[in-house]
Each structure stands twice: as structure tokens, then as C-alpha cells.
């Protein structure tokens, strides 16, 4: 825990502009109250949206650094927002990055937004400090995996009988699996680094590599798996 507070203490000059996209007004208000105290957290909420059209408009108008994106949205869901914001994500100078935030337990929802280009996924039970921490991590270009997402990914890459289409992409390295496993067990990056005798930077690069594989992997089983999992 001490690790966490250390990480999330707002460094002077640390500042990030955030847009909240969620169709539940109460939830937006709650998040705003928890992370929106700019001088304490360094997070400035510059816009809110309740559906896909609004979200695209607000994001285009305000150009935030990070968007907190709900998975379930009227008008096509988070995936649709990602699809229509693709040019903003690709902007090399000032990219808009997305962090998926959801109550959903359905694997296909989660995997869907990650494959759509979101830089991470956290559940809505996350604490305020952890959320702020995740936002800054995404802003810096890092990937953010919650334990649950790590579990989903391990599951997706483990339970495949079919040969991978692209050897490089469709396989996690031993190290990546270890890192994911520790995330799934609830370890923070620093704890993982200590456990595996590597630097935090290396942990970050492993996680980013996994995210990249997840987004680019052309195995169609991934989708099939996500659908089948609902029936388990």
C-alpha cells in the first residue's frame, strides 16, 4: 500500500486533462468528486459525455490527453467511440489515449475495447488513488492492466488449440506470462519488479508488449473465446 501512495502523490507540475464518458450521471459525479480536485490529484476534468455522439464531439473539441471510457454506452458502446476517434489516437504530437472503465464482467466487452485501441482497462471498484495513478500511466503511454484483465488475457492466450497465425504476435513470452500472472494476483508494478529482479521500466515494457499483441493479434479465436467464455 505504501508503494501506491508513494506513486500517486502528485508530483509538482504533474497535470493531465481528462474527459469522462459514462452514461450514468451519478457515476460521473462520483468520479469527478474523487479525482477532480485538480490541485491535489493533478487531474483536470475538461469534459463529460453520456453517449457516443456526445463523446466524439467533446473529445474532438477539448482534445484531452486521457479519456475515461465506459464500455457500455448508448449509440454503439465504447468500441464505437474508439472507432470514430481513431485519427485522434494516431496523432503523433498530441495523442488522445483511452482508458476503459467498466463494471462489465463480460470478457468480450473488455477484450473488445482493448482491441479497439484502449490503453488499459480498470474496473469501477478501483479506488480513487489507483485510478489517478492509472490515468497518469496511460498519459505516459504505458498500458494499464487490472487483475481481471490480466486474467482474461492469460485465459485468451492459454486456451487455444489452433496453431497461431502469427508466431510472434500470437504467443506470450515466458516473462510476459509471469508479469501478467503477478498482475492477476494483485501485485503492483514495483512489487512485480522486485519479485522478478527486473526494473519497473522492464515491467512496463512487458505489459505494453502484451497490450500490443492483444490489439494486433489476428487470431480470430480470441473473439470466439470471448464469446464462448460467457457460457462457461
Amino acid at each position: 500500500m505504501t508503494e501506491h501512495t508513494e506513486e500517486t502523490a502528485p508530483a509538482p507540475g504533474r497535470h493531465v486533462r481528462v474527459v469522462l464518458v459514462d452514461d450514468h450521471r451519478m457515476f460521473r459525479t462520483g468520479v469527478q468528486a474523487e479525482i477532480g480536485r485538480t490541485e491535489e490529484t493533478g487531474v483536470e476534468v475538461v469534459g463529460e459525455a453520456a453517449d457516443v455522439d456526445q463523446a466524439v464531439t467533446v473529445i474532438t473539441a477539448t482534445r484531452p490527453e486521457v479519456v475515461l471510457l465506459d464500455v457500455h454506452l448508448p449509440g454503439g458502446g465504447g468500441v464505437e467511440v474508439l472507432r470514430r476517434s481513431a485519427p485522434l489516437m494516431a496523432d503523433a504530437d498530441n495523442p488522445v489515449r483511452f482508458l476503459a472503465l467498466s463494471v462489465s464482467d463480460a470478457a468480450e466487452d473488455v477484450i473488445g475495447v482493448i482491441r479497439g485501441g484502449a490503453r488499459g482497462y480498470v474496473t469501477k471498484t478501483i479506488t480513487g488513488t489507483d485510478l489517478v495513478d492509472s490515468i497518469f500511466r496511460v498519459q505516459e503511454g504505458d498500458a494499464v492492466f487490472s487483475p481481471r484483465l490480466a486474467g482474461f488475457v492469460l485465459d485468451a492466450f492459454a486456451s487455444t488449440d489452433a496453431p497461431p497465425v502469427d508466431e510472434d504476435l500470437d504467443r506470450l513470452t515466458q516473462r510476459e506470462r509471469e508479469v501478467l500472472r503477478l498482475i492477476a494476483r494483485g501485485y503492483a508494478y514495483k512489487e512485480i519488479a522486485k519479485q522478478l529482479f527486473i526494473s519497473v521500466k522492464t515491467v512496463e515494457s512487458h505489459v505494453s508488449a502484451v497490450l500490443r499483441k492483444l490489439q494486433l493479434s489476428n487470431r480470430h479465436e480470441l473473439t470466439r473465446w470471448a464469446t464462448a467464455r460467457r457460457l462457461v
Binding site: 492469460l154 485465459d155 492477476a184
Partner: protein
């Protein structure tokens, strides 16, 4: 009528189809637009075609039959000839896009043509009936035919367009419809021209009955189709309504109940948390795994067992447990022991380490090995510092695992908290 109904009709002629397709003319027509359409199709003056029809009419009424058949089977569209014909299609579509309103208005020529036809057919019938008993079925046949034609014409355009669509997609249906039409016409023609002189009553009765049957089928057909369509639509709506009612019932029963309890227990954060977590779990189970939600019997797989234990511990101790399960396999005897050890570890974590945040439970089935980790962020725990007479951890976790051929490892996490790691081989990989 919604725009969907008129769309197919207005769209149809615009399609880049072969220009030589036969249509009945919708403008400048006298009766059904048959002569004009035919003239347009054949590239002849309208008056010639009309004269031919009148001429054929004199030949025992063949013209009337032909005309009726054309009227019945040839679709209305653009075609025909004549100076008054507008050069483009759009001009004949009225403001609201409905062509029928414009073209159906009877003018003097049309009324005249109709009168002429009625008079001539009366003469025709009189002529035919000179031979006697055929009168008995000629009149009903004509009546039925007229009725069928009337109903067919009155079926609204959208439906007819849809039939045409269906017919395009399914060749057999199209053929069947054409065959039925040919049969009907053929039966009528032979009825009139062949059995005219025959005294055989049975044959004529059979024919009349057949004609009536087919006529009735054609009459009822459109309505039957419409009814089945409406019925299936209604059934779909009913299923949806039922689903919604079920969700509403569940939300009403459990969620509102819990919310009331939470309001009453607002002073006790632990109780509120417990209630909220229990409700959340219940709702998730219900929403995402409808089948698993309603089996209260013993869990049969590792994933189920871990989740069940975590839920029970959570309810009992009011500490949130975050469960992540990767893979799954059926429980065997050794794994059941591992699950009991895991449950014990969860209870310990909740009791002694629940203050520092949620307890993390991770289970993974990989190959023939099952791994469970229970991790809390409490004050930590030193096995060696625990008196030897306290058997809880030693017996129920470590002892149990080792007796069954597995391993248990307890360790203090450097930055606070305890982690219990349980590893067990599966008894038989075959299961």
C-alpha cells in the same frame, strides 16, 4: 401508409433493367393500361392494339379473356406510347410519392371503355349461353374470377412488392404462382370451350368446384400471409416483453430489497459494504451466467469452487475478495482438498489482513497443475512466530495440502501482507 410501402413501387422502374420488359401503362390508359403497355412493348400504335383486342373479342370473347389475363398478371409500370406520355418517370409521381392516386382517377374515356366492355360481355354471355346448361357454372366462374382480380388488385402495393421480392429470391414460389395462374386460366378456358356441349354433369361440377377452391385459396392467401407475418412479429414482441418482465422482477425482488436494507443500515459501513457486495455478486451471476446462477448444489469445477468459497467468506467477514480465475477443470479428490485449504486461507486473509484493502484470490489451471494464490495486504504474518499449539494454518492449510501430495507456501510480502500459494497436481488428466 408509411413511406416503406410506396418505396418499392417508386424505386422499381428506376432500376436499370432491360427496357423491353412488359408493363401496363399507367398513363393515358382507358381501362387497365394493357393495350397501351403492349403497344409500347411491341412498338406499335395504341389504336392497332386496341383494334386487335376488339377483333379478338368478337372471336368468342377471346379478346376479353386475353385482356383480363394481361390486366391480372402484368405489373403496372412505365411504358406505352403516345404523345401525351410524360418524358420522365418522376413527373407522374404525385407530391407524396404515390402514383396510384394520380393514375387511378377515372376519366371519361375510362368510364366509356368500362361501359363498352360490360355491354359487350353481356352480349358475349348471351351468345354462349344459347347452348344451355353451361350457364350453371359460367356465371359463378366469372364472378369468382372477378372477385379474385378485385382482391388481387386491392392488396396494397407494399405487400405485392414484397411478394415480388420473395418471388425473385425463391424461384420455386415464383413458378408455383405462375403455374397456379396458368392452371386457373386454362381450367376456365377449357371449361367454357370444351365442356360447352357435354352433358356430363359430374365433370362440370368438378370443374366448378375446383375453380371455386382455387379462387378461395387465392382470396384467402394474402390474408393468411399477412396474418402469419403479424403473428410471428407479435410473438417476438411477447418474448421481449417476457424477458423485460423477468429482469424487472429480479431487480425488484433483490436489488430494491438490498437498497432498502442499505438505507436502514446506513450507520454501519461494514454491513452496508457486505450487503452491497453480496447484491453485486448476485446480480453479476444472474446477468452474465444465467445457467450457473441457479445451481445451489455442490460446485463441480475449480472455478466454481473458488468463486463459491470467496463469496461465502466475503459474506461472512464483510471483506471484499477479488477473484480472478484462469482456465477451469473438474474437481477431483485432491483438488477438493486444495479448495478447502484455499478457503481456509481466504478466511485467514479476511480475518487478519482485510484492513489493508481487498483480498486478492487468483486461481489458475495450467496443464495438469492447479495453482491458487490468496493474498492480503494486512500487517503481515510470520509462521515461525506463531505458537506451535496453534494448528489452524499448519494443519488446515499446509498439512492438508501435503497429505494430498500438493505443496503450500506461506510468505510475507515485503511491503506488507501475506501470500499463500497452493499448488496441486490433478489426479487424472483424462477427466
Amino acid at each position: 401508409m408509411p413511406e416503406a410501402a410506396t418505396a418499392p413501387l417508386t424505386e422499381d422502374p428506376r432500376d436499370p433493367r432491360p427496357p423491353r420488359k412488359l408493363y401496363r401503362s399507367s398513363d393515358g390508359r382507358w381501362l387497365g393500361g394493357v393495350a397501351r403497355g403492349l403497344a409500347g412493348h411491341l412498338g406499335l400504335p395504341v389504336i392497332w392494339v386496341r383494334l386487335v383486342f376488339v377483333g379478338l373479342f368478337m372471336a368468342d370473347g377471346l379478346g376479353a379473356l386475353l385482356y383480363a389475363a394481361f390486366w391480372f398478371f402484368v405489373p403496372l409500370g412505365v411504358g406505352g406510347v403516345g404523345a401525351e406520355r410524360p418524358p420522365v418517370l418522376t413527373s407522374e409521381v404525385s407530391a407524396d410519392g404515390r402514383r396510384r392516386l394520380v393514375t387511378r382517377r377515372p376519366d371519361r374515356g375510362q368510364v366509356l371503355a368500362l361501359l363498352l366492355m360490360v355491354i359487350m360481355s353481356m352480349i358475349f354471355v348471351q351468345n354462349v349461353n344459347l347452348t344451355g346448361n353451361t350457364k350453371a357454372y359460367v356465371v359463378p366462374t366469372i364472378l369468382v374470377g372477378a372477385g379474385v382480380a378485385l382482391v388481387w388488385r386491392q392488396a396494397d402495393n407494399a405487400r405485392r412488392a414484397r411478394w415480388v421480392e420473395v418471388g425473385r429470391r425463391r424461384r420455386t414460389l415464383n413458378l408455383a404462382r405462375a403455374a397456379a395462374g396458368v392452371l386457373l386460366v386454362g381450367a376456365g378456358v377449357t371449361g367454357i370451350f370444351v365442356t360447352q356441349g357435354a352433358t356430363e354433369h359430374l365433370g362440370s361440377i368438378l370443374q366448378a368446384a375446383l375453380a371455386v377452391l382455387v379462387g378461395v385459396a387465392l382470396l384467402a392467401g394474402p390474408y393468411l400471409i399477412r396474418m402469419t407475418q403479424d403473428l410471428s412479429e407479435e410473438r417476438l414482441m411477447r418474448i421481449r416483453a417476457q424477458e423485460r418482465a423477468e429482469v424487472a422482477a429480479h431487480v425488484h425482488d433483490s436489488v430494491l430489497h438490498t437498497l432498502t436494507l442499505i438505507q436502514r443500515n446506513a450507520d454501519s459501513p461494514a454491513e452496508v459494504r457486505r450487503l452491497a457486495r453480496a447484491q453485486e455478486r448476485d446480480l453479476r451471476a444472474w446477468l452474465y451466467k444465467p445457467a450457473a446462477a441457479e445451481n445451489p448444489q455442490e460446485p463441480e469445477t475449480v472455478a466454481e469452487a473458488v468463486k463459491r468459497s470467496a463469496a461465502e467468506v466475503e459474506d461472512k467477514h464483510g471483506v471484499p475478495l477479488e477473484v480472478v480465475v484462469v482456465g477451469d477443470c473438474p474437481l477431483d479428490e485432491k483438488l477438493a482438498a486444495q479448495m478447502q485449504a484455499a478457503r481456509e486461507a481466504m478466511v485467514n486473509a479476511a480475518k487478519y489482513g482485510g484492513e489493508g484493502g481487498p483480498v486478492q484470490v487468483y486461481a489458475e489451471v495450467e496443464g495438469d497443475e492447479v495453482f491458487v494464490s490468496v493474498r492480503d495486504r494486512g500487517p503481515g504474518f510470520d509462521l515461525d512466530a506463531i505458537p506451535a499449539d496453534r494448528m489452524g494454518v499448519r494443519e488446515s492449510i499446509i498439512g492438508r495440502m501435503e497429505r494430498n501430495g500438493g505443496t503450500a507456501r506461506l510468505r510475507a510480502v515485503p511491503d506488507g501482507g501475506t501470500e499463500v500459494e497452493l499448488t496441486m497436481k490433478r489426479a487424472e488428466k483424462s477427466a
